[in-house]
Amino acid sequence: MSELTYLQAISDGLRDEMRADERVFVLGEDVGVFGGAFKVTDGMVEEFGAGRVMDTPLAEAGIIGAAVGAAVVGLRPVCEMQFADFIACGFDQLVNVAGKMHYRQGLAVPMVVRLPSGGGFSGGPFHSQNPEAWFMHAPGLKVVAPSTPEDAKGLLIAAIRDPNPVVYLEHKKLYRSIKGEVPDGTYETPMTARTAREGTDLTVIAYGAMVHVALEATQDLDASVEVLDLRSLVPLDEHAILTSVAKTSKVLVLDEANQTCAAGAQVAALIAEHAFEDLDGPVRRIATPDIPIPFSPSLEQAVLPSVERVREACRELLDY
């Protein structure tokens, strides 16, 4: 075990898997000599060479398209989008080509697209988005979003080994703010939910950075609050969600993404359909309103789900 930041854990997982499997290679903008915009691939070009740590032009369609081809012929590409927001440029290659390859041609596409996502640091409308719901809606893609260093490493390795194209969301705010014990060597974290805290009175369902907001908001409440970390959005751990709701009968679902059709909307719909007779209150959601993320720090803080808003919603649900 080593104590690593969330960012170091991602690097560690990538490096260990590249050492273990020579089919694994990295491609993206400035991932080589510069070591990546956030330094996830720092030092890798020196260890693995430019053939396995490839700097690409600023062309997301080209990065993802090249990865699809490499994956089809048996390699294990890991693409880095410099910011999650830029994946819009590679949308067609990912959604239409990678996502439907197995359905149309019967070919596996074992590739990973890493998405540094999320806001909270005045990145503005082009550098703060949480685009996971776009890909949840596209059949053929898996979508994972770790919240801890241990899961960041294990889910990245699981994503690389998965025969499907996997969208891997790494929250930028967690990069250096979260530290934790991380096992040495390679291991896979299952694409299932994790109970971040056990509780009996209320379930808060979250993923990525919102898990930490949920934990902080509920730690001092005079109630037993369960926090469920989804970890994977596709596949969605429906069993874990429904089991927790059956226990607590009250639910708050958090998204940092814009509210409409966010991952939490799917979770809420699942509960409404399959856990109706377990509910003792309305399924509440907190998400970012359907607006671009403002540059202004105070405005940004006003739109992102805050610890205070989450705590207040929990109190209301507990009192209901």
């Binding site: 009968s249 109706f276 007779e277 377990d278 509910l279 003792d280 209150g281 009192d319 209901y320």
Partner: protein, 372 residues
């Protein structure tokens, strides 16, 4: 309509009284009540009393169910006042039942709005959730309220307790039960069982079987007017399941077994009874039963006959006592002897006291002459 209601509250009955319990409701929702007419009975740790209605009208809803203890001042029920009552009574008579008055009033409705989980739990536990006191927003009945209500509810009897109760009551209602007692000297049984590693029960059982062969009128069943003696002794042995009750497995054709054989069968049946592993044949067809609760020191009991049998033998504690014995030289003396009291409950419809005493004497004779 919502404005014209009067609350019925838990009254202050003496300065030190802080809470009271509803014992019974004299009125139900929809019933007409007169001012000062008894609406319910309440109880405190000091007194039980009738609670008069504070106003005339129609009982709109009951908020505190029977058995619930609430603080003084708690609203127990609401009365829809008389000046508005005409319509409500009309509604109630048109559609009888608790639903009718609830559906006519605004505030009552909010109490009736139950979440899916509350409705499900209430239904599973056969509780009227509208009668549960809500602690949620606006008095809403929450999941924890209905769960707390279930916890407070007195335990209902388990299925096996109900079954035992029914059987016992039916036996007492059916048979003309008498009990006869007789003392027996257990010296030989005690000596024998110690050398053979047995308990007294299989030896007494063996003696009982022989006595039943001698007096077969007790090895029988009486079902209505149909009295039937049995060739075989199918001996029931009452086995305690602790708090879970009692069951009587049957040793079929017990006359073929020695005391050791009976001991083995009793042990096996008791083990299977406690492991819930008896099959229906193991408890069927008994012709006589022995019960043996004496391990806790009880001396006498009046056992209840296991229907449709006609008698049951009760073996209680074996206790050392000073008794008068006659020596070989004809001299009486006081000796210390392990004694027990054999109790026989028998059905006076099937036999008479003389036969019961004769039977007990036959068992005693065998016990006191036991050699083996």
């Amino acid at each position: 309509m919502s404005s014209s209601t009067t609350d019925v509250t838990m009254p202050q009955m003496g300065v030190s009284v802080t809470e009271g319990t509803v014992i019974a409701w004299a009125k139900q929702p929809g019933d007409e009540v007169q001012a000062d007419e008894t609406i319910c009975e309440i109880s405190t740790d000091k007194i039980d009393t009738d609670l008069p209605a504070p106003a005339a009208g129609t009982l709109a809803e009951i908020l505190v169910p029977v058995g619930q203890t609430v603080p003084v001042g708690t609203t127990l029920a609401r009365i829809e006042n008389a000046d508005r009552a005409g319509g409500a009574i009309g509604d109630a008579s048109a559609a009888p039942g608790a639903e009718a008055p609830r559906s006519t009033t605004g505030p009552a409705r909010s109490h009736a709005r139950l979440s899916p989980v509350v409705q499900r739990i209430a239904q599973e536990h056969n509780i009227d959730a509208t009668q549960v006191r809500g602690t949620g927003r606006g008095g809403r009945v929450r999941k924890q309220d209905v769960l707390a209500q279930i916890e407070r509810r007195p335990d209902t009897l388990s299925r096996i307790r109900r079954t035992i109760g029914e059987h016992m009551k039916r036996s007492l209602d059916t048979a003309a039960t008498c009990t006869t007692w007789m003392e027996a000297d257990m010296t030989r049984v005690e000596a024998s069982r110690k050398t053979r590693g047995l308990t007294a029960l299989p030896i007494v059982a063996r003696c009982t079987i022989d006595a039943l062969r001698e007096l077969p009128a007790l090895n029988a069943t009486l079902d209505g007017e149909r009295y039937e003696r049995s060739e075989d002794v199918n001996l029931g042995i009452a086995v305690s399941l602790g708090e879970d009750g009692l069951i009587v497995p049957v040793i079929h054709r017990a006359q073929e077994l020695s005391a050791e054989g009976l001991a083995t069968r009793i042990k096996e049946l008791a083990r299977r009874a406690r492991a819930n592993d008896l099959n229906p044949d193991d408890v069927r067809g008994g012709t006589f039963t022995i019960t043996n609760p004496g391990q806790f020191g009880s001396l006498m009991a009046t056992p209840i006959i296991n229907q449709p049998q006609v008698a049951i033998l009760d073996l209680e504690a074996i206790v050392k006592r000073p008794v008068v014995v006659t020596g070989d030289d004809g001299q009486d003396m006081i000796a210390i002897r392990p004694q027990t009291i054999l109790g026989l409950s028998w059905d006076h419809r099937a036999l008479d006291g003389a036969l019961a005493a004769q039977f007990l004497a036959a068992v005693r004779r065998r016990i006191e002459a036991w050699h083996g």
